[in-house]
């Protein structure tokens, strides 16, 4: 998971010289923007769902044992917190004090939240689902950039080495055409959703088409990227990429 995506003009090995540097640069920065957006959405989705769980569990539950358990966990966290550089490990009295402060802050925040919004935000779960859709579809576009979509690789192994780049280029072109068809489908569906003005259940600030907007976006990006990959693969100017390990 820790591999960095290739840079716009990186030259990992051999004699590869980047063609169309401006397009590659734009694509690279677009990819970086997608990474940032998807990561931020991922974090938000997790936190939104967590807040929902907190509301559900603690809206009716008031147990002292929970506070004690939280305090012990906080104390353990403070005591086992990694020490970096010239930092020093906290002494027991300091750890006890910080753990008490942390416990107080967390308990206070939870009580404030569940008292103010008993049962939590009704729309939170739906927001998480919308975020999931956006994360996954942007992720599909990102997977196209670094060529990591799952494929049956046995097909490739049947072709002679000389023909391989043409076969791969053809596969990319077919995939691009497929994405164009799905882009058209998704635009048709989107148009219909706009006309209907259907709302997402329990989340009526959002219309369905707004959540669905990411689907045509992803297919459009994938169509463009696969087309570019088809061209560079056939022309033998594709950037050499290391075989990715599955994640």
């Amino acid at each position: 998971m820790s591999e960095e995506a290739p840079g716009p003009l990186s030259r990992p090995e051999g004699r590869w010289v980047p063609t169309y540097p401006t397009i590659r640069k734009v694509d690279y920065y677009w990819f970086q923007a997608e990474r940032g957006v998807s990561a931020a959405m991922f974090l938000l989705m997790g936190l939104v769902m967590f807040v929902t769980v907190v509301a559900e569990v603690f809206s009716t539950r008031r147990e002292w044992t929970d506070v004690v358990a939280l305090y012990l966990v906080a104390l353990l966290a403070v005591r086992t917190r990694a020490v970096k550089g010239d930092e020093r490990k906290l002494t027991w009295p300091m750890a006890i004090g910080i753990a008490a402060g942390l416990t107080g802050a967390i308990v206070g925040a939870v009580l404030l939240y569940v008292d103010r919004y008993p049962g939590g935000f009704i729309w939170a779960q739906k927001l998480a689902l919308v975020l999931m859709m956006w994360i996954a579809m942007i992720g599909a576009s990102m997977a196209t950039y670094d060529r990591s979509h799952l494929a049956l690789e046995m097909g490739e192994k049947l072709w002679p080495q000389k023909a391989l780049r043409f076969v791969k280029g053809f596969a990319h072109a077919v995939t691009s055409a497929f994405c164009v068809v799905f882009l058209i489908f998704s635009l048709e569906v989107l148009k219909h959703q706009r006309t209907e003005a259907s709302l997402i259940a329990t989340f009526d600030t959002f219309e369905t088409w707004e959540a669905f907007l990411v689907v045509p976006y992803a297919f459009a990006m994938m169509a463009l990227r696969f087309l570019a990959q088809a061209w560079t693969t056939v022309a033998d100017t594709a950037e050499p990429m290391e075989e990715r390990l599955p994640t």
């Binding site: 998807s38 999931m132 997977a143 049956l152 068809v181 058209i184 709302l199 390990l245």
Partner: protein, 536 residues
């Protein structure tokens, strides 16, 4: 025939899997599907599952656990777990091997993924095993086999996806919680088998560590946060604090806090990179998942399942014959296709037949299915773990393929045991459901289970799976109320969800089920609660 040609051509050129499935669906809908006269109708039918994801609450478990796994992997959990396991087992004969196996189990429970487990634990333990004078092929085979245990340890991605893929079936539906619970005994049994294998090899080969209480104490303090995660998830679910998909959120925030604030191994930059990698993984999965839901809808409309049942009836297979056939088929499929895609495509077809036609318990069948997928990770030529090991350890594929043979044999032997002894998978769910330890035993259909009528179940007795009347009707009723528009209005078809036409009149889920005359009056609140799980 056209569809088959399309699939073969695309497979031959190495097109992405989502293109392969999506093209087959589009061609099939256009050629055989009803109500696909306009672009909107075809598009609506093919892309329907994308929109339905917006109401599939339980699907949230997938990205949340994927994110958790990514954070824990990047946050140095593997190293801590390995240190702990070595401190516990390293002094025994074969102790280093045992540490590998148990660390893989522990890490798989956190990451939920077999290849990730192999990379995280294997990259540390394989060199350690070789350095500790264990035979190279043994070490290689062990890390690959132990890495595949990730399939069976909750919160495994495959277990979760299996549950999601059969949710629409009346007969074969199983909850994520049931699958997780059922997998514990097989997972620990496999772990035990591998540990015994290590012990036997360790009697003749390999160095042993010296036991030290100080080392154990340090390793325990370091590893406690990693060890606690599966416990928190499991206790939270079994004690009723949260549903399995919400456990994903708890695990995600836990992983975030531990790796960022306690272990401090993930800074802001690394956090964004890790989460964007998780998003990329979700992107690879989502297209295949949505496409296979469309495929299953198409299968239902084309009566594929019914035709398959008729074919099987002609062959007159009993439950044993059926399971053996399914195992051979799944191992072959697992050797050609990745496990997630294979689960999504074949579980919704095979599970309702196993349950409805052969009276095999749905949870038991689910576990057998997933163990097959685990073997798929190890079975050449398209074995994910073998490719990973070959690339990771820089070993030729032929050597990796030879090295896996003992592990493959052991896992297959375990599969046979799990297949014919349903108690292995049903013991814990039975205890959880009844609270009675005397209910541990689960009979197999051949030994006189009361469900069996004349040697086999009557198909259709309890519905035939995808799009069956009652549940499909309930979903349809709710969907039509929620969206304020019927399928006909929306996609230009009568019944895209597999529901019944009368629903467009606005009947509620409860009315429909009561009208269908299936069993006692139903509590509306239960339907509403369960409908979340069945939206797909």
């Amino acid at each position: 025939m056209t569809v088959l040609i399309v699939i073969i051509l695309l497979a031959l050129i190495g097109a992405p899997l989502f293109v392969l499935i999506g093209s087959a669906i589009t061609v099939s809908f256009a050629a055989y599907g009803p109500d696909t006269d306009t672009l909107l109708m075809t598009g609506g039918r093919v892309l329907g599952p994308f929109e339905k994801l917006l109401s599939a609450d339980s699907f949230l478990a997938v990205p949340l656990f994927v994110g958790t796994g990514a954070l824990m992997t990047e946050g140095g959990m593997a190293r801590r777990l390995i240190d702990f396991m070595r401190a516990v087992f390293g002094w025994l004969p074969g102790g280093l091997g045992m540490s590998t196996v148990v660390a893989c189990m522990g890490f798989a429970a956190i990451s939920g993924s077999s290849p990730v487990t192999l990379i995280a634990v294997g990259s540390i333990m394989f060199p350690a095993l070789v350095k500790g004078k264990y035979p190279e092929n043994f070490s290689l085979g062990l890390v690959m086999t132990a890495g595949s245990l990730g399939c069976l340890m909750a919160p495994s991605l495959i277990l979760t996806i299996y549950s999601l893929s059969v949710t629409a079936s009346d007969t074969a539906a199983v909850t994520v919680e049931q699958m997780w619970m059922a997998a514990y005994v097989p997972a620990f049994a496999l772990m035990g088998i591998l540990c015994i294998y290590c012990f036997i090899v360790g009697l003749r080969h390999g160095d042993r560590d010296t036991f030290s209480w100080t080392r154990l104490k340090t390793a325990t303090i370091e590893g406690i946060w990693a060890l606690a995660l599966p416990v928190i998830v499991l206790l939270g679910i079994t004690q009723g604090f949260f549903a399995p998909f919400k456990a994903g959120a708890v695990a995600f925030v836990y992983a975030f806090v531990v790796t960022v604030f306690i272990h401090r191994e993930i800074d802001l930059r690394k956090l964004f990179r890790t989460l964007s990698e998780a998003a990329r993984l979700m992107g690879m999965l989502i297209l295949i998942i949505a496409m296979t839901f469309s495929l299953n809808q198409l299968f239902a409309e084309l009566d594929v399942q019914k035709n398959l049942v008729e074919l099987l009836s002609e062959w007159d297979l009993g439950p044993i014959g059926f399971l053996i056939l399914v195992n051979i088929f799944l191992i072959l499929i697992g050797a050609l296709m990745d496990s997630v895609s294979a689960t999504l495509v074949f579980a919704p077809i095979l599970a309702p037949i196993a349950v409805g036609h052969y009276c095999i318990d749905p949870v038991h069948f689910g576990i057998v299915f997933v163990v097959n997928m685990e073997i798929g990770y190890l079975m050449p030529p398209v074995a994910t773990n073998l490719f990973v090991a070959s690339a990771l350890f820089k070993k030729p594929f032929s050597q990796v393929s030879r090295a896996i043979l003992p592990g493959l044999a052991l896992t297959t032997a375990a599969l046979i045991l799990f297949m014919f002894v349903p108690t292995c998978s049903k013991a814990l769910p039975n205890i959880q459901e009844t609270g009675d330890f005397s209910q541990v035993w689960q009979s197999f259909p051949w030994d006189g289970d009361e469900q069996v009528a004349g040697g086999r179940c009557e198909l259709g007795q309890s519905g035939s799976g995808i799009g069956s009347t009652t549940k499909g009707a309930a979903e349809g009723a709710l969907t039509s109320d929620v969206n304020e528009t019927s399928d006909e209005d929306y996609y230009g078809v009568d019944d895209a969800d597999g529901g019944v036409d009368e629903l467009d009149g606005g009947a509620t889920a409860v009315e429909v089920i009561e009208d269908a005359g299936v069993g006692p009056k139903i509590d509306a609140s239960n339907i509403d609660a369960s409908i979340d799980e069945t939206q797909l």
